[in-house]
């Protein structure tokens, strides 16, 4: 993990921690009583709010201390970095939603948020699908089977991601949900194909 990526992820984690603590402090200040922080029908929300920065910090520590078996290529590093930033941004977005629910603020239109998230996921998947075949095989790929599967998987992810983003913008809500289900199924299929190719390579 390079310094720039570590800085971006650390800033997102810090912002998440500040948002969680700030939200609880705000509620305490408004009510003037610490018990009010945990009051309400769902006290578990407080735990969930604080859990987000903890999860991010855990992921960050895990990624920083992860040992690569060999020096990662420039595309491999970019691929992992992009994936981490996407996941951290999604966690931050979820926390933002939870904060609005907790403080009883004005929630944005659910359908709009769902469409935005689906489009974001689709575009992210498309970018990662594009670079998928750039990743080096885990072992020496003498026959090129792993690379061929990776190229096919990358193409499927790329096209599916674009289709999901288009569906999120153009289709009515039931269509978007169907598209999300279909995407999930395709990602499972691609993962399975890649897993089999890796097993064949190692055998």
């Amino acid at each position: 993990m390079n310094r720039q990526l570590r800085l971006i992820l650390s800033l997102i984690t810090l912002a998440s921690l500040v948002a969680a603590v700030g939200t609880l402090a705000w509620r305490w200040r408004e009510a003037g009583d610490i018990a009010a922080v945990f009051a309400g029908p769902k006290p578990v929300r407080v735990v969930l709010l604080l859990a987000m920065p903890v999860v991010m910090a855990g992921l960050l520590a895990f990624s920083v201390h992860a040992q690569a078996g060999r020096k990662p290529g420039r595309y491999e590093a970019g691929f992992v970095g992009l994936t981490l930033i996407t996941h951290f941004a999604l966690l931050a977005a979820m926390q933002g939603w939870m904060i609005l629910v907790y403080l009883g603020g004005v929630l944005p239109d659910r359908e709009y948020v769902a469409r935005l998230l689906a489009a974001f996921m689709g575009l992210g998947m498309s970018v990662r699908g594009n670079f998928f075949a750039k990743l080096p095989p885990p072992e020496r790929d003498g026959l090129g089977g792993w690379s061929r599967t990776a190229r096919r998987s990358g193409l499927i992810l790329f096209v599916t991601g674009l289709a999901l983003a288009a569906c999120a913008i153009l289709l009515p809500m039931p269509g978007v949900i169907t598209a999300l289900g279909g995407t999930f199924f395709l990602v499972l299929m691609v993962s399975q194909a890649q897993r089999r190719a890796t097993a064949q390579l190692k055998s």
């Binding site: 594009n130 670079f131 750039k134 020496r140 026959l143 193409l155």
Partner: protein, 99 residues
């Protein structure tokens, strides 16, 4: 990105990529498909490697090249093939392909 365009603009380099699509090949195997000198081919491999389109795995004295094309680069390759970009040496390449 300009490195990728430069790499894909040459028909010989595109032919190398098409050959590597089948399976990874050693420099010698690839050279067997062309009538050019090894030094010229080595320069082509170097351009492709610098553009990140192929990866080289050196074991002893043997270098094995494998394909590392992203989806967009693959599409660019197909585009360049279809429209015959940089076909100055196309006649020579045709003769090599038929060998």
């Amino acid at each position: 990105m300009s490195e990728v365009f430069k790499a894909l603009a040459d028909p010989t380099r595109r032919r190398v990529l098409q050959l590597l699509r089948e399976r990874p090949m050693t420099a010698g195997e690839l050279a067997g498909h062309f009538s050019r000198s090894k030094a010229t081919l080595s320069a082509h491999f170097s351009v492709l490697r610098e553009a990140g389109l192929i990866a080289a795995d050196k074991r002893g004295v043997t270098i094995t090249y494998s394909l590392r094309l992203s989806v967009l680069e693959d599409a660019l390759l197909a585009f360049a093939e279809t429209f015959g970009i940089g076909l100055a040496g196309a006649g020579e390449l045709k003769a090599e392909k038929s060998r």
